[in-house]
Amino acid sequence: MSWKTWSLKKSVWVFHVNTGACNNCDIEIVNLLTPKFDVERFGMKLVGSPRHADALLVTGVVTRQAAPRLKEVYRQTPKPCVVFAIGACACDKGIFHAGYHVVGPVDKIVREEDPNAIIAYVPGCPPKPEAMISGVVKALSAL
């Protein structure tokens, strides 16, 4: 394990990217910060800029408008970083798979930018906050 990966696994700072979600996954992500789940006790923190982030929490089907912006955000994130595809839409476009304005899913767009990106999937519509915590823990222990 390189020292970069080792340092990535402690106190993960996450940046939240909405690429055309219905908002539920986003609210559940913010829910993670509030007293019932309180992930800040693990050192996880939502940050306001991708340049400060260790991981991206990507929600939503990637719409045509959002795809270049997702790539831009991914470029700005310091590497190595983990991309979490949160929710059914981010994992495989979910119920919106037939939409003409949908170019996702997330892994396809991120891989166009970086074929070796580390991507973890948390399915659910929306995934429960417990599922997101579990997904993050599993992904980090697999690194």
Binding site: G20, N23, D26, E28, N31, K128
Partner: protein, 405 residues
């Protein structure tokens, strides 16, 4: 070309953790005062109306509940009412009451969520944490009834999918008692706090005349003294049989909108109690054989305003046209009336006061027409919080360090 140089637009921070609105607000400012605002939307366009035409009538409620995660009971209800309108289906009484209860529970957690966000914007992060803690039990109740914390998908053409079991009634009532106390506490805190009065009154005022001109709906309209509420004007589900009143405030500023939402939450709690008490027996759905050709409209009062659905059928198993209209779409243009002439520090709050359905992402840049100073979203949030701290100091409240907020 010269104009472009003088007013550069910097696309700053496309994504912010708390306001995930996909609208692009470009503010032109003169010093501290906003002189113009431009709104661009469609970043979150998923082509819902097109997808709806590829789905069967029974599948669409699951789709439309994902228009916006927070209004995920109102949209399916409006759609189902549109279909029931032209198909001549009358849902059973119990289904109407179950729909009312789910919708009001949704409104409770949505309004409490907004109070938390508003607290966050003016630097009261304690309010944010507490308010979001109080809405958790409501989400748990919804999960117990429908099987999901959000995106309930509980209505279907002809009735409801899941019933409210009798053994859950005492628990719902118990949670309503608990949350009523918390909402009362929040209401008293907002009404009594001199800093909030100083910070929120006269900010982002939308006059009654402007409100009517921009055709705003929901709490945005009711905060400006416009008494419009679909539940009252065209009662659907069981609203016509319950005892409740439409809350309005005259001032039209952010304070009035906050008061409307808080008092409305108390009304919702009363409605849930009454609906549970009156909950009739019987089936929760009627069998629907086939959908005849025709066209129908349905509307429902979402937490943010009126949501409207239009469905046209040619007798097949899919609609040939499905038009949806969400409340934020009509509320957002009113920013032109409420933001222009305001201080930059008040803009985030004014935008948040409308509670735009944030199924999208926010991109926001401020352009100073004199010296091209550009503020991004974070600096605006900071300005807003600094103003709260300054007001606190003037009033003589204990000083708050900026690191704390």
């Amino acid at each position: 070309m010269k104009e472009t140089v003088r007013k550069p637009v910097l696309a700053v921070g496309p994504f912010h953790p708390l306001q995930e609105e996909m609208e692009f607000f470009q503010l032109t400012v003169d010093g501290e005062i906003v002189t113009d605002i431009d709104v661009r939307i469609s970043y979150n366009h998923r082509g819902m109306e097109g997808i709806a035409e590829t789905m069967q009538y029974d599948q669409i409620p699951f789709l439309v509940s994902r228009i916006c995660g927070i209004c995920s009971a109102s949209h399916p209800l409006a759609y189902v009412q549109a279909v029931e309108d032209f198909a001549g289906i009358t849902p059973p009484d119990r289904a109407r009451y179950v729909r009312t209860i789910i919708n009001e529970l949704e409104r409770i957690h949505s309004h409490v969520l907004w109070v938390g966000l508003a607290g966050h914007f003016i630097g009261y992060d304690t309010v944010f944490m507490w308010a979001w803690k109080y809405r958790e039990p409501v989400l748990d109740l919804l999960e117990k009834i429908t099987g999901n914390r959000n995106n309930y998908g509980n209505v279907r053409v002809g009735g409801c999918r899941e019933d409210i079991p009798d053994e859950l009634k005492p628990e719902i009532l118990r949670e309503m008692d608990k949350i009523e106390k918390k909402v009362d506490m929040l209401t008293k805190a907002v009404l009594d706090d001199p800093i909030l009065h100083a910070r929120l009154k006269g900010v982002g005022t939308l006059t009654k005349k402007d409100g009517i001109a921009y055709a705003v709906t929901g709490p945005t309209a009711r905060g400006s003294g416009i008494k419009v509420d679909v539940r009252h004007d065209d009662p659907y589900a069981a609203y016509g049989e319950l005892d409740w009143k439409v809350i309005t405030q005259e001032q039209g500023d952010v304070f009035a909108k906050a008061v409307v939402r808080l008092l409305e939450t108390s009304e919702c709690i009363k409605m849930v109690r009454e609906a549970l008490k009156k909950l009739p027996g019987g089936p929760i759905a009627v069998e629907v054989k086939e959908i005849p050709p025709g066209e129908g409209c349905g509307h429902a009062e979402a937490p943010r305003g009126e949501t409207f659905h239009y469905v046209r059928s040619d007798g097949g198993n899919r609609p040939v046209r499905h038009k949806m209209r969400a409340p934020s779409y009509v509320n957002v243009p009113s920013f032109r009336a409420s933001c222009i002439g305001q201080h930059i520090a008040d803009v985030t709050l004014t935008l948040a006061a409308v509670d735009p359905c944030y199924s999208c992402t926010e991109r926001l840049a401020v352009v100073d027409s004199h010296n091209s100073v550009i503020h991004d979203y974070d600096s605006l949030l900071r300005l807003s919080r600094e103003k709260t701290a300054r007001l606190k100091k003037e009033i003589g409240a204990p000083e708050m360090r900026l690191e704390d907020i």
